[in-house]
């Protein structure tokens, strides 16, 4: 392989790239070699690679130290509170990880081994249906957005079956960006509708938008302001009378787990985010899992394969159906995450599940009560598991939401979700979850109060924050302008980099 230079134009702060550690001959790993090597001359020389694969050549100890050092530049839920609104960063029980590890050596075509797994998946489906008040489910959605797409395809297919060509999906302005994006891919036209002055969608608003082109309303309950959609039952009735479906985004289910069920609110179809509500880790961006649950009338359209009972009280996979939307994944979704979820549900039990929503709401309201003295709270409607602040009071001194987030990093805390939802200017969206000790809630509230005080007394220091972090404030505009996306792209951008420095 060719010799690589590191992107030496950038002075190192912490850890060089693997390409800079690379030196030919350093990797001395012995790989398993059970077979005598064949000459492989049946493969055309024009197709074979005469060079070695283009990878860095580093020793094992360097691999371990490199990634261990990188890990220390991160922040995880095991470090402390991670109050990202609508992301539900709760503690991930270690026992669930251990149990999921037990499926790692199973191939999905090993039908004998899969018998045990299908039984577990069936139990998980039943539990999720019970928790949500829905009739049936599919577990193959690999993430929340994948579940949304699956759900919207199910609705599209059901409409097609009825001979209807409705194209509009109504989406409140508090929704996550994935909602309209999923609708577009499923072939719908997303239309944004305003949530009311009290922070929830009003039935009177829906009436103005309902016509014979409306396929569905896609709504998150509680919404991203943390406010319960109190007119949801009436809205569901209006939708159903109009021949439209109610799709519920389960992103915020943690607020109502065991306390209120989407199925009872009139949802026809919904998805869950197991990596939020059901405690499976986010892994720095995934794998998540997004099961989709439906009411009886949408069962025929669920994606394949279906888990069905055979005569011997065991389960098999059914791969053919003319009504189904088809398959959505090449394997079995993010199966290991499903195993973690059942382990989590069973460890909590019915009372434990209900306690989740109680304490999640309790904790969020504690922080909200504390912070309402020093920050602007844009809505007076009571909130559940999360709430939104703004920088309105700090703006008077030139301190912004971004400054507050970066200051929190300096205090060793991961910031909340910022600049979302879009209906609130400069939002700071806080969700502590049920797994924070009271001392940690107090620490977070204390630090936020300190930041509010600093914004009044020394607003000028915020522009240089965060102070104590592996890197200073990161220039995202520069990244977008120069697009250095691999370590090979560094050299060609050298000039640009130097001229900017």
């Amino acid at each position: 392989m060719h010799e690589r230079k590191d992107l030496t134009i950038f002075p190192e702060r912490v850890e060089p790239l693997l390409s800079a550690i690379n030196k030919q001959g350093k990797n001395t790993r012995q790989m398993p070699a059970p077979f005598d090597v064949y000459p492989l001359d049946d493969i055309d020389k024009d197709i074979q690679n005469e060079d070695l694969p283009d990878l860095p050549d580093v020793s094992e100890v360097e691999t371990v130290r490199h990634f261990t050092r990188l890990s220390r530049l991160n922040y995880g839920i095991d470090h402390g509170i991670y109050p990202l609104g609508s992301c539900t960063m709760k503690y991930n029980p270690k026992i669930c990880e251990e149990i999921a590890g037990r499926v790692k050596d199973i191939h999905p075509a090993d039908t004998y081994a899969m018998t045990d797994i299908l039984k577990i998946l069936m139990e998980l489906s039943k539990d999720l249906e019970e928790i949500c008040g829905m009739d049936a489910s599919t577990l193959w959605g690999a993430a929340g957005a994948h579940g949304e797409l699956t759900g919207m395809l199910i609705i599209k297919k059901a409409l097609e079956k009825k001979g209807e060509n409705r194209s509009t999906v109504l989406i409140p302005d508090t929704a996550h960006g994935t909602n309209p994006a999923s609708c577009t891919i499923a072939g719908f036209n997303p239309v944004q509708i305003p949530s009311g002055p009290r922070g929830y969608l009003e039935a009177s608003t829906i009436k103005d938008y309902l016509d014979d082109d409306v396929a569905a309303l896609m709504i998150t309950n509680p919404n991203t302001l943390g406010i319960f959609e109190q007119e949801i039952a009436h809205i569901a009735e209006l939708l159903h009378n109009n021949g439209s479906y109610l799709y519920m985004d389960g992103a915020n289910l943690n607020a109502i787990l065991g306390t209120s069920r989407p199925g009872d609110m009139g949802a026809d179809c919904m998805h869950l985010n197991l990596h939020k509500t059901f405690a499976s880790p986010h892994g720095g961006g995934g794998p998540g899992s997004g099961p989709v649950l439906v009411k009886r009338h949408l069962i025929p359209y669920l994606p394949l394969p279906w888990i069905v009972a055979d005569e011997k009280d065991s389960y098999t996979l059914k791969w053919d159906s003319t009504s189904s939307i088809g398959t959505i994944h090449s394997g079995m979704g993010n199966l290991a995450v499903l195993i973690k979820t059942l382990a989590y549900i069973l460890s909590l039990g019915p009372e434990g599940i209900k306690d989740v929503s109680h304490v999640a709401t309790l904790n969020a309201n504690y922080i909200k009560t504390r912070l309402s003295k020093s920050f602007d709270i844009p809505y007076t409607t009571p909130t559940l598991h999360e709430f939104v602040l703004t920088d309105k009071r700090q703006q008077a001194n030139g301190v912004t939401t971004m400054d507050i987030a970066k200051a929190l990093i300096g205090f060793g805390i991961h910031p909340p979700t910022i600049y979302f939802p879009l209906v609130v200017n400069n939002a700071i969206m806080i969700e502590p979850t049920e797994t924070e000790p009271l001392e940690e809630l107090k620490r977070f509230a204390d630090i936020m109060e300190t930041i509010a005080t600093l914004a009044e007394t020394s607003p000028e220091i915020f522009k240089d924050m965060p102070f104590v972090s592996p890197v200073g404030r990161v220039d995202e505009v520069w990244a977008a302008r120069h697009l250095i996306l691999t370590w090979d792209m560094g050299e060609s951008n050298k000039e640009a980099a130097v001229s900017k420095q």
């Binding site: 530049l73 960006g177 994935t178 109190q230 209120s260 794998p287 009571p382 797994t435």
Partner: protein, 433 residues
Amino acid sequence: MSFIPLSREERKEILDAIGVEDEDELFETIPPHLRYKESLNIQGPLDEETLRARFQFRPHKISFLGGGIYNHHIPAVVDAIASRQEFYTAYTPYQPEISQGTLQAIFEYQSMMASLTKMYASNASMYDGATALAEATLMAISAKGLKRVVITRATNPAYRKVINTYLQFNRSVEILEVPFNIISGQVDLDALNDMVDSDTALFIQQPNFFGIIEPLDKIAQTAAKAGFWGIVITEMVSLGLLKPPGAFGPDVVVGDAQSFGNPQNAGGPLLGVLCTTKASIRRMPGRIVGLTRDSSGKKAFCLTLATREQHIRRGKATSNICSNQGLCALRAAIYLSAVGPRGLKKIAAQCASGARYLMKLMKEKGIDVIFNGPVFNEFVVRMEDARIKALEEAGLVPGIRIENLYPEIPGGQLLTVTEMNTKKDVECMKERI
């Protein structure tokens, strides 16, 4: 077992601080008829030992399974590092100052995938190979307004099904299959030539679902006529042996990199790969990490090209993807760093050699090997049901039944060999037939 860290007294303390009487009062915005009053009909709570006893699995010891999900050696360092909670329990790196570890590791994953495939850039991952391929078809359609998606019939059937699911309501796009040559198992080049024009998005799997290595050098000449074309790789270990796909000039290389340090997991999580050209980078779905500088001019990383994505562009985004397979991409990065260039080449040679050894023994037993094209680590044989049953009863899993997926190959059975099989496994298969 509960994971709530509050005592009864602390819960009371919080209620007092908020100024409410009891916890039910916090839910007063939920209309009474929507409050769930019953006890959920689920089991538990269970302690850890009871949980451990309840989740027992029985994988087969000797199997020859592949077809898109592979059993490869995973160096111990992969689990040791990937299970560090700093990586494991972090969120998507939206706040770069506190997420440099994830960001640099993903940048390195992107760099290694781009190097291996010789493509311009790689995104930060997709759910799996099939959804990566489906998103690549959407990319082709949105970029060029193409009318036809042409895909080789020897592409993994599960992948072709997912494309059908994603495109089923797009009436302006037709999906066509290119047949394979029944003797060689490779794509029918004449048919391919007739089906491809500038209105076409072409996708071809290499090595194909039958394990056969396609003549990409010849295909590339035809593919160049297509409006957009992509190479699908479901067994990334083949890159240890074969010329990087980017050398043939595709617009995308998509597929699954589960083989790089990720276990089979009974079908998931897998690791979707999407690499593309400079020209197509702004149409790419998914996240991507870029190198940048911090306030003092030092090297730093952050997510970039965000204006393509759903959280900014909403209904007009290139894709709806948000969470991806970040931890699986991290595992792939650690794996590639651990095995290095010679390790990957050796593993690839072992896979190819093992398959040839099994093929030789099958032929000696009079088993019909269906195609004569060159293979990587999989091949198709004809095997009757009774023989498969007998092997299964002897404790072996002799590959994947594919006759239901390919009715034109009656008795078709796909056998896969990796470096995790032993010589003894292969010989055992011969003896028990």
